[in-house]
């Protein structure tokens, strides 16, 4: 593809500072992270007709729940199927399409709310917005890794931290806008969607216009690759399709899936769990504060752990997640029984930091194992583990809890078995991580393999 959005036109000129790339990535991730704050619209959307209270024709919460679910499903699908396209066209066009989809999704949803047609919101925010989420999430990853060969973890951690931070901006911004636009006749969601769609489109476009890919064989001034090579960091490249034929891909898929399953499962229950475990001590308002605290640790962990992985090594970082994480999950029930709320909150916060760290460290882990050439696309395909965990985690936690309560276990104690099972999942994750070895050289790319997808990076880059 030629033109302004082509990969060729987004190659950096000499003098371009690589420190412009992280804020370009953040411009996108801070927007799409709004998805995790979509629940702030749930209550107003149940009062679109009745305004003050729900009318009989208003949407039910169960109907609205599908909007977020669809968005997450299409996030996973677009990241998985769009990854190869991303490697072909580069980050600028991908970010542009992501901006159109995510911003446009809000506009279509605004029309859906105005006409009170739920299918338009499913299509707008769920399907089209979800595609924007997936493409936006993976678009800057490989570019960041190429610009920061000396700090892969830190670079991707900055972007993926933005996804965590996006909800923190999106939630108060939505409330602020709805408060501004609401009236006796309207809950203000239509206008809020229109403003947010425009804002997010512009912000993501700033990212798309600023991002550049490094010239062929670029490396930071004054930096030379380490002479003594870490066996777990390859200087070869594995083709995106070939990566699916390696056991390493599936082991890493399992590593991400299990880490996220455990985290996402207890994250969704955090508010109820603290209220039931510390009955009388925790009000709904302070439980909401607890969830806020967890989201801070989730976001901070994304940057902290991925940056730390540059020094600790990716495999060791995941060992920490699985060993310490399993210990923390197993300890939480006893903290609840002992009534030690401070320690309960601290342990939970640490778990959430490692949950976030699991997301942000995985791109650098993939780059170490499969090389940097197709890491964006491979990362996209690995994100199906996230979608799987998004279903598995909450289902597992809810099912086990219901079963326990059905067996006569007190509500406050019903989480104990869940936490032990989550600890068990992390032990399986530990074994999967332990089994990861360097990719066999038969999977590495050879000269000429790049022609299919790329006009930028020369074939010589395949074997250096």
């Amino acid at each position: 593809m030629s033109g302004f959005f082509s990969k060729q036109h987004s190659v950096a000129q000499p003098g371009y500072s690589r420190w412009l790339v992280p804020p370009a990535a953040l411009s996108v991730h801070l927007c799409i992270g709004q998805a995790y704050a979509f629940s702030v619209f749930n209550d107003p959307l149940t009062r679109v007709i009745g305004v003050g209270s729900s009318a009989s024709d208003d949407w039910k919460l169960t109907t609205l729940g599908w909007i977020f679910s669809l968005a997450i499903v299409f996030l996973g699908l677009s990241a998985a199927f769009g990854g190869k396209w991303l490697e072909k066209v580069g980050p600028r066009l991908t970010m542009f399409v992501a901006a159109c989809c995510f911003g446009g999704g809000f506009l279509i949803s605004a029309l859906g709310v105005h006409l009170h047609e739920i299918w338009l919101i499913y299509l707008g925010y769920g399907v089209i917005g979800g595609i924007g989420l997936g493409l936006g999430y993976v678009s800057p990853v490989s570019t960041l890794i190429k610009w920061f060969p000396d700090r892969r973890g830190m670079a991707t951690g900055m972007a993926i931290m933005g996804f965590g931070g996006g909800a923190m901006i999106g939630a108060p911004l939505s409330v602020l806008l709805m408060d501004h636009f609401k009236s006796a006749e309207s809950v203000g969601v239509v206008q809020t969607f229109l403003v947010m769609g425009g804002l997010y489109f512009c912000s993501m476009m700033i990212g798309a216009l600023t991002i550049r890919i490094p010239p062929p064989n670029w490396q930071p001034v004054g930096w030379t690759p380490p002479v003594v090579q870490n066996k777990m960091i390859t200087d070869k490249h594995v083709h995106i399709d070939q990566a699916l034929k390696t056991p390493q891909f599936y082991l890493l898929w399992l590593v991400l899936c299990l880490n996220v399953t455990a985290g996402i499962g207890v994250l969704g229950q955090a508010s109820v769990m603290i209220q039931e475990m510390f009955k009388g001590l925790v009000t709904p308002a302070s439980a909401a504060g607890f969830v806020g605290l967890l989201s801070l640790f989730n976001m901070g962990g994304r940057f902290f752990w991925s940056s730390a992985s540059d020094f600790l090594g990716r495999k060791n970082t995941y060992f920490i997640f699985f060993v310490v994480g399993a210990g923390l999950y197993a300890t939480i029930p006893s903290m609840g029984m002992a009534g030690n709320m401070a320690l309960f909150v601290l342990l939970y916060a640490l778990i959430m930091s490692m949950y976030g760290g699991g997301f942000s460290t995985i791109p650098a882990y993939l780059a170490d194992i499969f090389g940097t050439r197709f890491v964006g696309g491979i990362h996209g395909r690995l994100l199906t583990a996230w979608s799987t965990a998004g279903v598995l985690g909450p289902v597992l936690v809810n099912y086990i809890r219901e079963y326990q309560i059905g067996q006569g276990v007190a509500k406050a104690d019903a989480y104990n078995v869940t936490m032990y099972i989550m600890a068990g999942l992390l032990v399986v994750g530990f074994i999967a991580n332990l089994s990861i070895r360097p990719v066999h050289e038969k999977h590495h790319m050879k000269h000429g393999d790049f022609d299919e997808l790329d006009g930028i990076y020369p074939a010589d880059d395949a074997e250096h």
């Binding site: 000129q13 000499p14 003098g15 371009y16 500072s17 420190w19 412009l20 804020p23 370009a24 953040l26 411009s27 801070l30 933005g162 931070g165 996006g166 909800a167 923190m168 901006i169 999106g170 939630a171 108060p172 700033i206 600023t210 010239p215 062929p216 064989n217 670029w218 490396q219 001034v221 925790v282 308002a285 302070s286 439980a287 909401a288 504060g289 607890f290 806020g292 605290l293 989201s295 801070l296 976001m299 909150v345």
Partner: protein, 42 residues
């Protein structure tokens, strides 16, 4: 490997402004969340 020498470096003000552009809203979001989280200790 090429060592690209900066001939026309990106302007430092552009860098600062771009970082502020993302950090100011992020800080606002973090501050809003901290205020909410304080309810836990209130």
């Amino acid at each position: 490997m090429n060592q690209i020498q900066p001939t026309k470096p990106s302007h430092p003000i552009l860098l600062v402004l771009f970082w502020l552009y993302v950090l100011i809203p992020l800080s606002w979001g973090v501050w809003s969340t901290i205020k909410k989280a304080l309810a836990l200790f209130g």
